[in-house]
């Protein structure tokens, strides 16, 4: 083959990428590869756990290395197939994306270990671990991609894996929950796709750095507020914000508890991530226009979610409503929109990923010990498992936002940010919802833990365990310890989230990482 005589530098990236740049794509490739491997050995169920857990450990290490690199050197970009952006699909990791990727990898590892106990051989043969790997491929891809259509693709990947996980077990109520979940999420995804098409029609590019650079030039001529409203609606649906959140309480209590934990921890946060990425980084001016609507939605999400939590009898449903309260808080940060508020949202997202997963796992363990999901039937857990009860109490305090746990700091940052711009009613909603959640979780502790065990009608036979299994103790213990640690020593994450928010508000480093030689024409 004769060497081409054309100037390749106009179309291709000619500089060799540093080996460390590969950290941007490796998390996704690793998860796809491990998922594929697990599909190939689907009959050898014994191997699944080992392969999946080693894959997840590697994922945590990769994401940690990526976060270190990004935090030292700024955003990292790699374009697929060496085509120059905006034509090649870019994977760009900034501080926000890599923080979320790391914390979701940690949570997935915890859930994977928990699943060793929770998912039996039938569930494994059905494909729990391959689905988990592909879910993580979708989640990592969504956090690390720098291309908005690619973001849509990763949403699809994680959505399809989540359908599989949701109906693991094929019980009628699971199918019922999955149907509501599937239909409403597909509507949300379709809206997202329409918005992406609209955006492409306006900008002629899908690269997020390119869009961020060009948005100011289109403000006079293009209906960017409509576009942003469409994106906000689509992502609010994904994130389960009021009034488009009724799918979450309808479906999250049906699957296996470890699946609920993954969903409650990760999926809604991917929606919030996309919302922050698009509104704060790409369309800040339009977000300002719509901020009042978002703020009302945030306040209602919080308060109604908290009231829902107070009204529930089923532990899983109750935790589902606590997840929704968290979404309201993160949405409040988006509505306020100042860098401080966005850093509060990011901090809240990090806290929420860990705490909500741990809460679901805790609910599963409580039900296993107590033999029921309902508060009316549970009782006497404190006497039976004091260590577990202490961890539960810590998680309750963290979820309610009481000191000294990790829930306090994001709420504090958000409160201060909302008072700074004079949105006293938003601050009041944050405080009110936190108060109601405290009551709801105190009610759980009172009824399920403190109340002496009566002779209830059991929904299932409680397992008589003397020592808690390590496959349950380690994930729960580590997630709780993480929550306590960042409650006591919040400086690192506070600093990281502030820098991440600053990087979103002023994305010149992000754009510079994609277009090293200046913006695209």
């Amino acid at each position: 083959m004769a060497a081409p005589s054309t100037d390749l530098s106009a179309a291709l990236v000619l500089a060799a990428p540093a080996i460390a740049d590969w950290l941007v794509v490796l998390p996704v490739v690793l998860m796809i590869g491990v998922g594929a491997l697990l599909m190939m050995v689907r009959k050898s169920v014994r191997l699944h756990g080992t392969i999946a857990i080693s894959g997840l450990v590697l994922l945590v290490l990769l994401d940690a290395a990526l976060l270190m690199r990004v935090s030292i050197q700024g955003p990292v970009t790699m374009v697929m197939g060496r085509w120059l952006p905006p034509f090649g699909i870019a994977f760009t990791a900034d501080l926000f994306g890599s923080l979320m990727a790391l914390v979701s990898a940690v949570v997935a590892l915890a859930a994977g270990v928990f699943a060793l106990r929770d998912i039996d051989a039938a569930g494994r043969r059905y494909g729990f671990f391959p689905f988990l790997m592909l879910l993580m491929a979708g989640v990592s891809g969504a956090f690390l991609t720098g291309d908005i259509f690619n973001l849509y693709v990763w949403f699809e990947v994680l959505l399809i894996s989540s359908f599989g996980l949701l109906i693991l077990g094929s019980e009628p109520e699971q199918i019922d929950g999955a149907l509501k979940y599937a239909v409403l999420n597909l509507i949300g995804t379709t809206l997202f796709l329409i918005a992406v098409g609209y955006l492409y029609a306006i900008f002629g590019t899908l690269n997020m750095a390119d869009i961020a650079g060009k948005a100011s030039g289109f403000r006079e001529t293009a209906p960017l507020v409509t576009l942003t409203a469409l994106f906000i609606l689509a992502f609010a649906m994904k994130a389960a914000a009021f009034p488009v959140n009724f799918w979450l309480p309808a479906s999250y209590h049906t699957p296996r508890i470890v699946v609920s934990a993954l969903f409650g921890g990760l999926l809604t946060k991917v929606g919030i991530y996309a919302l922050i990425r698009v509104t704060v980084m790409l369309f800040p001016v339009e977000r300002e226009e719509l901020s009042f609507v978002v703020a009302i939605s945030a306040a209602l999400t919080m308060v109604i979610g908290a009231l829902g939590a107070l009204a529930q009898n089923d532990l899983r449903r109750l935790v589902g409503y606590v997840v929704i309260v968290g979404i309201g808080n993160m949405l409040a940060g988006v509505a306020i929109g100042t860098p401080a508020a966005v850093s509060g949202s990011i901090l809240y997202a990090l806290h929420s990923v860990v705490t909500m997963t741990a809460l679901y796992l805790m609910a599963g363990e409580a039900a296993r010990l107590g033999g029921a999901w309902t508060l009316s039937a549970l009782g006497g857990l404190y006497r039976r498992a004091p260590g577990f009860s202490a961890a539960s109490l810590a998680l309750f305090l963290a979820a309610a936002g009481l000191p000294p746990l990790s829930g306090l700091w994001p709420k504090l940052v958000l409160l201060k940010a909302s008072l700074d711009i004079g949105a006293w009613w938003l601050a009041a909603a944050i405080l009110l919802s936190a108060f109601i959640v405290t009551m709801a979780l105190a009610r759980v502790f009172l009824l399920a833990y403190w109340r002496p065990r009566s002779e209830p009608v059991l929904e299932m036979v409680p397992e008589l365990v003397t020592a808690i299994d390590w496959r349950i103790a380690w994930p729960l213990g580590c997630l709780t310890a993480l929550s306590i640690f960042f409650g006591l020593f919040p400086e690192t994450v506070l600093d990281l989230s502030q820098r991440a928010a600053a990087g979103l508000a002023e994305p010149s480093a992000y754009i510079g990482s994609v277009f090293p030689g200046g913006a695209a024409p």
């Binding site: 083959m1 990236v13 060799a16 990428p17 080996i19 740049d21 590969w22 794509v25 490739v29 796809i32 590869g33 998922g35 594929a36 491997l37 697990l38 599909m39 190939m40 050995v41 689907r42 009959k43 790699m78 374009v79 697929m80 197939g81 060496r82 994977f91 039938a122 043969r125 059905y126 494909g127 391959p130």
Partner: protein, 166 residues
């Protein structure tokens, strides 16, 4: 659909379609075709075989479970992208070698191995759906994988009748 005509034609048709699917796969590199469409053709070949001879005949014929085939394809596609780490170019960059086989220069590329991966993913995924749909209720629910495959005595075992005579 268990007619004599179909049972006679199906093996030939299946073989031809599988061959054609490989042709479409390889042709797709520079001309219309490719892994996706090739995979669909191969999957329909297996579906026809399944209609004629039953699902377990197909499962025996392809040896591996369709989902395992899909997994292998996905792994191959991912690894094709990863090869570029050794060449110092970004992920998914097409890399070529030109070995001479019997005096003919044969270009081999990671693009092609990626496409073969796509082919396998499509064959595996669509076949496993098709077989699950063709599965009769009397047959074991192998698609879900709940039990190991138990041979079911089928009244129609085609093409082997003559043997019993001797």
């Amino acid at each position: 659909m268990n007619t004599l005509i179909l049972r006679t034609v199906a093996p030939v048709l299946t073989a031809l379609m599988l061959l054609f699917s490989v042709f479409v796969l390889l042709r797709g590199h520079n001309e219309p075709g490719g892994g996706f469409i090739g995979g669909l053709i191969a999957a329909s070949a297996l579906a026809i075989y399944g209609i004629a001879f039953g699902v377990s005949a197909v499962r025996r014929a392809i040896r591996f479970h369709p989902m395992a085939i899909a997994g292998a394809g996905l792994l191959l596609a991912a690894l094709s992208g990863l090869i570029s780490i050794f060449a110092g170019v970004p992920f998914m960059t097409g890399l070529w070698i030109y070995p001479e086989i019997l005096g003919v220069e044969v270009p081999v590329a990671t693009v092609m191995s990626f496409d073969i991966g796509v082919y396998l993913v499509v064959v595996g995924a669509i076949t496993s759906i098709a077989l699950a749909l063709e599965q009769e209720e009397t047959e074991p629910a192998e698609a879900i994988g709940e039990q190991p495959l138990v041979r079911v005595k089928r009244p129609r075992k085609p093409a082997h009748k003559p043997k019993e005579r001797g």
